[in-house]
């Protein structure tokens, strides 16, 4: 049986494309935070929620062995569920400081939220327009970022902190 070369080539090309599409199906094309882990956080300046004259920058975080930067808002329901874990972290562990960044929220509502549930934060800053959140690669809240004294991102938690995430944080900072 005689097989023409062009048919063989067309067949090979078809197989090649099928393999590419097959591989393409396996690729996870979603927002991934992996690229941020191990990177340095950007420079920022965060104003205190209740006092415009008080602010912190990334330089202050260098003094802490570990800092957890937590984005929250009073209107965010999952933020309420993770709040007890943040309180536990701040009460039981001195190695970690927690910075709260109030995201696109009303000042009074945020203060009321913290009065009602307790304040686990060493500093509460405001991000009324959400611009600071972009510096941290945030796309929805709650999100938390654990950094060390070198300002390197060690862990990024997308969504509320749960028992598993809480244990992982404890394991890292112990």
């Amino acid at each position: 049986m005689k097989i023409s070369i062009s048919k063989v080539i067309i067949f090979c090309v078809a197989i090649f494309f099928l393999l590419i599409f097959w591989q393409g199906l396996k690729i996870k094309s979603n927002y991934d935070t992996k690229n941020l882990i191990g990177s340095q956080i950007s420079k920022f300046q965060l104003t205190e929620i209740d006092n415009d004259n008080l602010y912190i920058s990334e330089e202050e975080l260098k003094k802490n062995k570990y800092t957890l930067i937590n984005f929250f808002a009073s209107w965010c329901a999952p933020c309420r569920t993770e709040h007890e874990y943040l309180l536990n972290l701040s009460n039981e562990n001195q190695k970690i400081k927690i910075i709260g960044i109030n995201f696109k929220d009303k000042k009074n509502n945020a203060i009321k939220f913290l009065e009602e549930l307790g304040n686990p934060y060493n500093f509460v800053g405001k991000d009324s327009k959400g611009k600071i959140s972009i510096l941290f690669g945030i796309y929805g809240i709650p999100e938390s970022i654990l950094v060390n004294s070198d300002l390197t991102v060690i862990k990024k938690i997308v969504g509320p902190i749960d028992q598993i995430q809480y244990n992982q944080i404890l394991k890292i900072i112990k």
Partner: protein, 125 residues
Amino acid sequence: MKIKFLLFIGSMLFTTFVYPEQNQNKLLEVYKNLRCLVCQGQSIADSNSDFAVTIKLVVKDQFNQGKTEDEIYKFLSSKYGEWIVYRPTFNVNNFLLWTLPYAVLVFGGFIIFLLVRKTKHNKAN
């Protein structure tokens, strides 16, 4: 004096109408090349989601600071991964994506050349 006055009016008109429009078009171009990560197949330009609104603000700020389009894409890619940019940059991982269409074009041309030559050869015989 008249010429100075006319130049002044001209520059005022340019900065009021032409320059902002040029900037607006440039910004729109950047928004269109950014993917809204929380939307279904929409660009930042098409979406009014919270995320898209914030990205627009940040892009506008950086643009006003004099950052180039590439610098803005690089910044956002460093925060959200290359997935945020619709037009990926050329690198080792995606060189096939950029080169394959040209390779297919050349290969297709080669096949057509072979077929034409074969047909001519058959006709001659």
